[in-house]
Subunit: 311 residues, 2 copies
Amino acid sequence: MPELVERARAGEPRAVARLISLVEDRSPSLREVSAALAPLAGGAHIVGITGSPGVGKSTSTSALVSALRALGKRVGVLAVDPTSPFSGGALLGDRVRMQDHATDEGVYIRSMASRGHLGGLSASAPQALRVLDAAGCDVVLVETVGVGQSEVEIAGLADTTLVLLAPGMGDGIQAAKAGILEIGDVFVVNKADRDGAQSTRRELRSVIAMTDRADGSWKPPILLTTATTGEGVAEVVDEVLAHRLHLEESGELTRRRLARVRREIEALALTEVQSRFSHLSGDARLDTLAAQVLDGSTDPFAAADTLVEQL
Amino acid sequence: MPELVERARAGEPRAVARLISLVEDRSPSLREVSAALAPLAGGAHIVGITGSPGVGKSTSTSALVSALRALGKRVGVLAVDPTSPFSGGALLGDRVRMQDHATDEGVYIRSMASRGHLGGLSASAPQALRVLDAAGCDVVLVETVGVGQSEVEIAGLADTTLVLLAPGMGDGIQAAKAGILEIGDVFVVNKADRDGAQSTRRELRSVIAMTDRADGSWKPPILLTTATTGEGVAEVVDEVLAHRLHLEESGELTRRRLARVRREIEALALTEVQSRFSHLSGDARLDTLAAQVLDGSTDPFAAADTLVEQL
């Protein structure tokens, strides 16, 4: 196993892919992998990319990869689909998307599913990110495929969160609703060649000015891009790197990462407890407790307490 | 608190409603309520009602209530909406639906939401059912509002599962896909006044004959109804009551209820563990573990194990 980690560390794409599969499949060897990876991780800058469907998230991600490669950075991309139970070096994930980078050895692209995983994103994604981190990526872009609550959850995985919007379609209001204004570190109005880009930026600026931010010392920039042509994307990369510098200098990087690891530990602990419970079917103690609830001599809460004590 | 349970036991609707609200809100007094209810429950026949949207589920439920009332039974209805985070003696749930029974003192109607509840239906619904049970309902109908996986999950809550279909619309195939053929104890082809009811019944019969069933000693009947007029509904009630008799005589009732309580205990235990974890934010031990993961001296799995041991 350490050999596989060594090969991933050396940049061998198949070893990286294999390690992420072990994470996805919750392989029994995951603990060993995790122990081997932990000392190697921490170098990568994790950038979350979020935004409503239709804002050009995957085109933007692809354009950001190009811009980062132009700076000589090694880049990882993790696309998480919280609505799919299918895991994946999957069809949509790795192949169709981002074909531009398919042959670039400095780019790792992976997709994974998280539906039905207890703890959702927070239980599986951090470990996949750690694989890409340990494999020597300078920057790892993480984005959610599909819609939903995960829009905000993605920020919990990242050092820097990039929020994408597009002109019109009431995106400004939608964003405010979803709570993503609070969590964005860099805002991008994509499809800037369309009408209304400037007014969306203005609207955003005034809304953000009124927003309570956890890190009050960073004033989030709002940039315009046309991801399809690459226009403005280099400036986004500049701001992302500037934010990284700010995170380091302000101590916010450590604060965010500590919070992230705390959530990860909690999620894994919960998963561990659930798996212990699921091994209890056929367990005589659980059967006894169930029989006692049924005959009214105890109640489900008291029985659950007993079960937890017996853990 | 036992006074509230006593009042519910005596059939006071407001006391029943209040107890279910305590369940939904996960009130701190829930344990006390649960302990008081446990010895009182077990008398009610829990009937799950499932089927794809458009088959006439809520009209059928209302018609079943009428038919059960005609037999002098006290009836509870629990409508669970697994897609909604809003809880409720809610708008749709209690008021608009089933207005026919709104003034009948022998009928309790409640809706509840389960989205976002750890353990979903299995964590909250059994307790709400126990309230209706302890309140003296002879039969409690439980159905899901909305679509989804819960179609099958509902069977896990019930003594008898009633599967509704409608002619056409490829319902036969849909049902087979969703796995509800395996879990149905009584099948109903509703909207029998439409073309294709008989052929849907034939199709169903041949598919069911090939289905592996957990309880092989019961041959599930397939009935035709027109819920809007009440046609055929009394026969459904007859079969539901026949199934109850079968459950008692075969010992299957106890087996099902034991399995149900086991799941409930597991779900509650998991909820309890999660709530203990969530109280750990700011806990120095968790902070220490997180710092160790971050500096690479331990890994998240090992840290999670430590956390579980410290529980």
